[in-house]
Symmetry: C2
Subunit: 255 residues, 2 copies
């Protein structure tokens, strides 16, 4: 019987051309995973399904993948082997056997992304690859209000890349919040946590873009409503840099 392996994957997106395999041999997370799985599973043809296609430069702490094989391995030994063979910027956080019909993409009920902004004049050396620095003043209350406009089901045609290939642009935002944190190493960190049933191409970064522009008063909250109505990308702000974005969590139905 085929076994269905499910893994939670973590990666530093800095040196990858995104998750999905690319023509021309560009380095991708999918490519590196496939290389290692083919070695461990002795060149068996492995097909990887994954919860979210992250762009070049986007990081993950909770990307979920699954793949099937007739070969049976003890899970903790397999996890150890994979982590020994994977490059330093990818690792397997957890590994389980899933039900036969579990599919990391199709079974996912929601995806959650976190976006990190340092709203200060100083960005810690240790956060430069994982956050963006915004020096201009941001009105958090207005941004919270803007977040609430995104909640629920909407047509996100105005808030995704023109290159998005999905037929339906309707997506449901289940949760969206802004968390302000301060610690010894970094003051004035703002985290956007966005949970949706699914995301269109560049949707999370475009949402964070318009919300921060609303926070610095260069756009109005009404632009969100107008974007939903007119479906015109002119209502969206500038997209924020990939390096601040993390695919943090994926939710599944309980089998």
């Amino acid at each position: 019987m085929e076994l269905n392996y499910k893994a939670v994957i973590e990666y530093d997106g800095t040196d990858f051309f995104g998750f999905q395999s690319q023509p021309g041999g560009l380095r991708t997370v999918h490519g590196e995973l496939l290389n290692v799985l083919c070695r461990v599973f002795s060149n068996e043809k492995i097909s990887i399904s994954y919860s979210g296609r992250t762009d070049a430069g986007v990081h993950a702490t909770g990307q979920v993948i699954n793949f099937k094989s007739n070969k049976s391995f003890e899970l903790s030994r397999l996890k150890w082997s994979l982590n020994s063979l994977l490059p330093d910027d990818i690792s397997v956080r957890s590994l389980d056997f899933a039900e036969q019909d579990f599919d990391a993409r199709r079974s996912a009920r929601w995806r959650e992304y976190n976006y990190y902004i340092i709203n200060d004049y100083y960005q810690s050396v240790f956060l430069k690859k994982y956050s963006i620095l915004l020096c201009r003043e941001l009105d958090i209350d207005v941004m919270q209000e803007a977040c609430r406009c995104f909640l629920g089901s909407h047509d996100f045609r105005a808030f995704c890349s023109l290159n998005d290939a999905n037929k339906s642009k309707i997506r449901e935002i289940l949760e969206i919040e802004i968390i302000k944190t301060d610690d010894f190493h970094q003051k004035n960190m703002i985290i956007f946590r966005i949970r949706a049933n699914a995301f269109l191409y560049n949707m999370a970064r475009i949402m964070v873009g318009i919300i921060t522009e609303i926070g610095s008063r260069s756009r109005k909250i009404s632009d969100i409503e107008l974007g939903f109505l007119d479906k015109d990308v002119n209502y969206s702000g500038s997209m924020v840099d990939a390096k601040g974005l993390f695919l943090s969590n994926v939710g599944y139905k309980v089998f």
Copy 2:
């Protein structure tokens, strides 16, 4: 009148051959700082004093430096300029004017280092450059007890590098503690926090080495006492890797 500039510096030590300038043009934190200061201060001869000479691969969140110049700059603008010119792996956290007789090295009352160990089978991608992975079981209670043996003034001849050039090997450990933490991204993190009036060459890493060997029962607590008595390096454990070590804080007398 000469102004005495005092700065707190942060750096990711991964790509540096330590703090101190080296012959042969190796990349050092001191070298990069000096380059940028000479540019900003128009090739004035700048001499940098610093609180602690960190080894190749050691990081800092709280290295303190000072330098003198007749040129007067507005501090927030100077900090911004320096951070714009410095490479991504060094930055100036804070900048102040200090009293004339303040010297980052001579005026320091204590230095504090943190060492990060992941005591698990899994090390987060985002911590690989900033911690070491130790899979073997560690007895935290025994390690806490070993820590207490180091408290106070001792001759650290057995617990420093043979290359240490200091005449007196007597140093005073003011505080030493082990903190166990757990978070979503990384379970079973152990932080060693060691505060001493000053450290000998490799002393912090050798101390962490013997304490972890005591924690895994490959050495005994009595080896610390014997090391102090016999001053023989055979009583010390293996030195832990530089990448887990951070110079985190330096304390000064109040002027």
